[in-house]
């Protein structure tokens, strides 16, 4: 039950042992399923092929299977963590990149980049998407702060409406410039296109997730409101806007490389905090591992359900995440907070 254990404490508290056990269990399952996922696909690769250094199979393994797994782990963990941070900072359990206009703004940015900056590098396109995501999130924050009654339901509703308006703009542009198919790829996440050389931007997201952990205590304090945070010497506005900017940037990079992953940032943090509480230093690592696990399982389903064809992971996540989210909503514990 304790967050910050003593450096030289005489004995670890039982809560800490439970936390470690939980994290360990999650890591072990993630590793097992990760290893399994490497051997799922149209081309039949098994361990002996790798040991025999079968060159064509080895190539497929290194060029496609491993990058795909890395992309899944990096984006899944990051989107889980980002949802957790947004929920804490906005103090609303329904706020996530997909319910704050962030993801829609990022895909609008991509449309704009593709139309008017067609020749630029992927890195520059990503930068444009990040800028749009930051602007969209800032707009959401401004709207929320102007609300007279920041009701728990009204806040994400505003975000969803804002997202809808931004998406309409993106669709309009995409329609005029014949980009509808690209737009639907950006809004619906898919790992099938991930190859070596096309996912490395996600390491940025991994670095940002680690950075988020270093600020976890400040995020928790900001989540207790401005008065408590200021009292404890935290620069509230810097933490609030810094955290939201981090969340927007991570979401935008994931949209650029993978596409939107619905419900992930909503469902995973809520499941974890329901079990472990709102102390981010404690729950952030478990959220990261659970987010990765969730996406990995959904990706395996998307690869196997219509084998040898694939369906986009975003579709599977949407169905599974939506079902979990409904179940969460109907549980009284969620409503009781």
């Amino acid at each position: 039950m304790q967050a910050m254990s003593t450096r030289r404490g005489p004995r670890p508290a039982p809560g800490r042992i439970r936390d470690t056990a939980l994290l360990g269990l999650a890591l072990v399952s993630l590793t097992v399923v990760s290893a399994w996922s490497l051997f799922i696909g149209v081309s039949d690769i098994n361990v002996s092929d790798l040991l025999q250094a079968d060159s064509s199979k080895m190539l497929l393994f290194v060029e496609s299977r491993v990058p795909r797994l890395a992309a899944i782990l990096l984006s899944g963990s990051a989107m889980g963590v980002v949802g957790l941070i947004m929920q804490s900072l906005v103090r609303n359990r329904f706020v996530a990149p997909t319910t704050a206009g962030t993801v829609d703004a990022a895909s609008l940015g991509l449309v704009v980049a593709t139309i008017w900056f067609a020749g630029v590098s992927v890195f520059l396109k990503m930068t444009i998407a990040v800028i749009f995501a930051l602007a969209g999130t800032a707009l959401f924050m401004t709207l929320v702060q102007r609300l007279r009654y920041a009701d728990i339901i009204v806040v994400p509703l505003i975000g969803i409406m804002l997202g809808g308006v931004i998406q309409a703009a993106a669709t309009f542009l995409a329609l005029r410039y014949d980009l509808l198919q690209s737009l639907s790829a950006w809004t619906n996440g898919d790992f099938s296109g991930i190859l070596r050389g096309r996912y490395e931007l996600l390491y940025l997201v991994g670095a940002m997730t680690v950075a988020a952990y270093l600020f976890a205590n400040r995020f928790t304090l900001a989540g207790m409101g401005r008065d408590v945070a200021v009292n404890l010497g935290v620069n509230y506005h810097r933490v609030l806007y810094g955290g939201m900017a981090l969340a927007a940037s991570v979401s935008a990079v994931v949209v650029v490389v993978v596409g939107g992953i619905p419900f992930l940032g909503l469902v995973v943090p809520n499941l974890v905090t329901m079990a472990m509480g709102d102390n981010l230093r404690r729950v952030l690592p478990v959220t990261a591992v659970s987010g990765a696990f969730f996406v990995l399982v959904c990706d395996i389903v998307s690869r196997t359900i219509r084998f040898p064809y694939e369906i986009p992971v975003g579709t599977v996540v949407g169905v599974v995440g939506g079902a979990i989210f409904l179940a969460l909503l109907l549980r009284s514990r969620f409503n009781a907070g």
Binding site: M1, G15, N231, R281
Partner: protein, 277 residues
């Protein structure tokens, strides 16, 4: 020492705190009393740098609160507002541990843990230390937040109506603890109180505010008198004596307005007139 000079706060055309000057030397329980809207909470929030000042200056041990870095002030003074976030699912112990944040930035040393243990013990929360704060009663939660502030280990502790919504038992217990913070741990307490009788029994000094200004300032025996309370609250309150302290029997009267009084006329009947220091 807390020094206020010419402190003013305005909201649009309304001046909520009007050029208040006040000196609070270290030690003791200093109660801020007065009617609703007198500016007590606003003044307290400004001392605790939760609200910016429009005019004037506030110094705490010589540090200007509007200019000193937040984490420096966080080791000097702590402030607890009325509305505390309860939707956050932290255990009592986690909450109290966050009180050490200004000292340790979250990496608790053995000394930090000692403070945490002591604060939890001081507020008799040992049995509740593993319980999430959103599942505590109002009184227990108030004690948990006071433990957090105690753990912060500041010389000055500012409390905004900590007895709000507490029943008789919890209110008296909490006030007893606050008194002990001053007596046993030599903290300087500045506390906004609604009930003048708590001020009468537990405060060393009572500062009364009305319409954004200090209208009376002195020992409880000087302020909690019939004429003085009439002046502060526009209400004739019978004051009795119990255990050598004045007790205002305000609950016995209805809402009788004071006869023959107009707003601009203030007879000099109060105990100590407010003065600009």
């Amino acid at each position: 020492m807390i020094e206020l000079s010419g402190v003013t706060k305005r909201y649009g055309p309304n001046t909520v705190v009007n050029s208040v000057s006040l000196t609070i030397p270290g030690g003791g329980v200093n109660a801020l009393v007065g009617p609703n809207g007198a500016g007590k909470s606003t003044l307290l929030s400004m001392i605790g740098r939760l609200l910016p000042l429009d005019e004037g200056e506030i110094r705490v041990d010589g540090l200007d609160v509007s200019r000193t870095a937040g984490n420096v002030l966080a080791k000097k003074l702590s402030i607890l507002r009325q509305e505390n976030q309860v939707a956050v699912r932290l255990t009592v112990k986690e909450l109290v541990e966050f009180g050490r944040f200004p000292h340790s930035q979250g990496r608790l040393t053995a000394e930090d843990s000692r403070h945490v243990e002591e604060a939890i013990e001081f507020l008799e929360l040992t049995e509740l230390s593993g319980r999430p704060i959103n599942r505590l009663s109002g009184g227990q939660r108030q004690r948990a937040f006071i433990a957090m502030v105690l753990c912060q280990d500041t010389d000055y502790v500012l409390l905004d109506e900590p007895l709000n919504n507490l029943d008789m038992r919890h209110a008296s217990q909490t006030m007893g603890v606050i008194r002990r913070l001053a007596t046993e741990l030599n903290k300087t307490i500045v506390i906004v109180l609604h009930d003048v009788n708590f001020a009468s029994y537990h405060a060393d000094r009572v500062v009364a505010m009305k319409d954004g200004a200090i209208v009376a300032d002195g020992a409880p025996g000087e302020i909690i008198t019939g004429p003085s309370l009439t002046e502060i609250y526009d209400l004739e309150v019978p004051v009795h004596s119990y255990a050598d302290r004045p007790v205002a029997a305000y609950f016995a009267i209805g809402s009788r307005p004071v006869p023959n009084r107009n707003a601009n006329h203030r007879p000099p009947t109060k105990a100590v007139l407010a003065t600009d220091h």
